[in-house]
């Protein structure tokens, strides 16, 4: 315990406590709340799916500074990969097959690596964004036009009799979201994260300090595609009926972006807060406002970008700015 305190300090220990308590509460939720009957179950499930995608986008856009607009393609690819393999009897043939889910993440990651090598080596800024967007639209058309292989615009059907309870979905999605957040957190605190942040800050300077800029951009891009694909496979298990219009929907691009920018781009907690808030707006907005909520989400993106581009975490970090400055000042005036 003492060693832990020394490592984390006062604030770190409190944060750790909060996180452990929150995870314990969320993990045991199905035991004291009927997630099948309550809408909360669906809300938290879908929040976790979004959060997984959002953390992936956060890694490439927030930490690496490369805005990708191809997330929905990776999400859909993940869903279709899982479903296609399952239907063809590949994998261990049980519900939420881990191997299928991992493959569902790897497939889009491979696509992302290939397109990343082509695009990221030549383009940056807006054009990278539009290159990924164009790619996503191509993938969409391929699936709509895929005929028997993809089921075309009607999509494909999985065996819905596997559905037992929302509990399983909830736990799987929660576990994956927690692992995704943890993975992004660990990555960004490792030397890998140093390279990503350096690229975000100044890619030329990063290169002249020895960072292989292209390699790390592609890795981050592939990792974000992996998470999107993984989330896609979970959602695929939930849908049972996969069609291009639903799993390649632009919502799988825009909502995670909104969650990240609202919460705070390039922070680890930001996407968590953002996805909890936005997902509540969408999930309950559907109930209370019918189909209007996308209007508000568009408006929300505008408001956030116009008035607080740093997101909620940006505001939080600004609040104790005075105190922080003092701390910095002390540090800079005592070189001895």
């Amino acid at each position: 315990m003492k060693a832990l305190y020394r490592r984390l300090g006062h604030k770190g220990l409190i944060s750790l406590g909060i996180i452990v308590a929150a995870l314990a509460a969320l993990g045991t939720l199905p035991f004291w709340l009927d997630v099948d009957a309550s809408y909360t179950g669906y809300y938290l499930f879908i929040t976790c799916v979004y959060l997984t995608v959002a953390q992936g986008w956060n890694l490439i856009a927030g930490y690496t500074g490369q805005i990708s607009l191809g997330t929905h393609a990776f999400f859909g690819l993940g869903a279709y990969t899982m479903a296609g393999l399952w239907l063809n009897g590949i994998g261990l043939y049980f519900f939420f097959d881990v191997t299928l889910m991992v493959v569902a993440g790897i497939a889009p990651a491979i696509v992302a690596s290939i397109i990343g090598l082509l695009l990221l080596s030549r383009l940056k800024g807006d054009y990278l964004s539009f290159g990924t967007l164009g790619l996503a639209q191509i993938v969409y058309v391929l699936f709509v036009k895929g005929g028997k292989i993809t089921g075309g615009a009607n999509g494909i059907y999985l065996d819905a009799s596997y559905f037992s309870s929302m509990r399983v979905y909830y736990w799987v999605a929660l576990l994956v979201a927690v692992l995704a957040t943890l993975a992004v957190w660990l990555l960004t605190r490792s030397s890998f994260g140093l390279a990503l942040k350096a690229i975000r800050e100044d890619d030329i300077s990063a290169a002249s300090h020895g960072v292989n800029v292209l390699k790390y951009k592609v890795l981050a891009f592939a990792m974000s595609a992996f998470l999107a694909g993984l989330a896609g496979s979970i959602y695929g298990y939930y849908l049972f009926h996969l069609e291009p219009a639903s799993v390649f929907n632009m919502n799988w691009l825009f909502y995670p972006i909104l969650m990240v920018v609202l919460g705070g781009t390039g922070t680890i907690i930001g996407p968590v807060i953002g996805s909890l808030i936005c997902s509540a707006l969408f999930a309950y907005g559907d109930i209370y406002f019918g189909g209007y909520h996308p209007i508000f989400s568009g408006f929300l993106i505008i408001l956030v970008m116009r008035f607080m581009p740093g997101g909620i975490m940006g505001l939080v970090s600004k609040a104790p700015a005075l105190w922080r400055k003092k701390e910095g000042a002390v540090a800079t005036t005592t070189p001895e």
């Binding site: 800024g125 164009g134 709509v144 800029v213 189909g291």
Partner: protein, 293 residues
């Protein structure tokens, strides 16, 4: 042979709208370095305005041009001063990109709520009128679209080449700081460029409503196509953008005919990515649209 000719002509006529939209994008990008992804949504919005003016008030779409283009111009000025002015001034272009994304999403869904996803069309009495030259049929409204696009390109070209303000807009795309030093308001220059960009969206909206049936979901696809045309034509070249739009129309039309309808989109995006990768200056040369790493 006749069929091929017909396909080509249809492609050219269809591509006019891409061309108009691309000219608008080019103006906005030239001055503000922003890719205005909501351009397609604005076009559909003004198509609905035309549709309303036509069905509710009985105003002919071509008369609508006199209303919707000035309105669109004002909307452009308004959008610039409320949303993009500050974003244009900062180095981080991701903010303005996401602003445009938010705007697109909001407008698309607003339209979906107001007008539903049912396709609409300003069914004028002359909408189905065709002109027959030899064995080739040319739709009157599509031909008008080409004429309008050429006129619009000429007006924009004249503005940029012959007027003081237009010259300032061109100068601004080379060096905003130097423009400021001459006492020219950089915000006004950007606002005007943005206004004209949206004004062209107003024009494209009229054309869209009079020629095609459209629905709210069309905006995003359309913005992407305009972007493809922009990438093909190279930034800062009015005729390049228009021609690229026409070429894109032909490519899609040929693709739809020979490979199958529905593949057209995939083909144009593939062209887009190939151009981005191998010809970042567009097929007409022009200024580099892409900063190389």
């Amino acid at each position: 042979m006749t069929i091929l000719l017909q396909v080509l002509i249809n492609g050219v006529l269809f591509g006019t709208m891409y061309g108009i939209a691309a000219i608008g994008l080019s103006l906005v990008f030239g001055t503000m370095r922003i890719i205005f992804l909501a351009q397609g949504s604005m076009i559909v919005l003004f198509a609905y305005l035309t549709y309303w003016l036509f069905t509710l008030l009985g105003i002919d779409p071509y008369v609508c041009i006199l209303i919707s283009v000035p309105v669109a111009f004002m909307v452009g000025l308004g959008l610039f001063y409320t949303l993009f002015k500050d974003a244009a001034a900062i180095e981080d272009k991701n903010v303005s990109l996401l602003l445009a994304v938010g705007l697109m999403y909001m407008v698309d869904n607003l339209m979906l709520t107001f007008w539903t996803a049912n396709p609409r069309f300003a069914a004028t009495s002359y909408a189905s009128y065709t002109i027959r030259i030899g064995d080739v049929n040319i739709s009157f409204v599509r031909l008008m679209a080409l004429v309008i696009a050429l006129l619009a390109a000429f007006v924009v070209f004249y503005f940029l080449k012959r007027t003081r303000l237009g010259t300032a807009v061109r100068a601004a795309s080379a060096d905003m700081q130097a423009v400021k030093l001459l006492g020219i308001s950089s915000n006004w220059v950007m606002a005007v460029a943005f206004g004209i960009g949206i004004g062209l969206a107003g024009l494209a909206g009229v054309v869209m409503a009079s020629v095609y049936s459209f629905d709210p979901n069309y905006g995003f696809t359309f913005a992407l196509k305009a972007l493809v045309a922009l990438a093909l034509g190279g930034i800062g070249n009015v005729w390049g953008a228009l021609s690229a739009g026409l070429i894109l129309g032909v490519i899609e039309s040929l693709g739809a005919y020979y490979i199958g309808a529905g593949w057209a989109d995939a083909i144009s995006y593939a062209v887009f990515i190939l151009v981005l990768i191998f010809m970042p200056n567009g097929i007409f040369g022009g200024r580099a649209a892409v900063k190389k790493v």
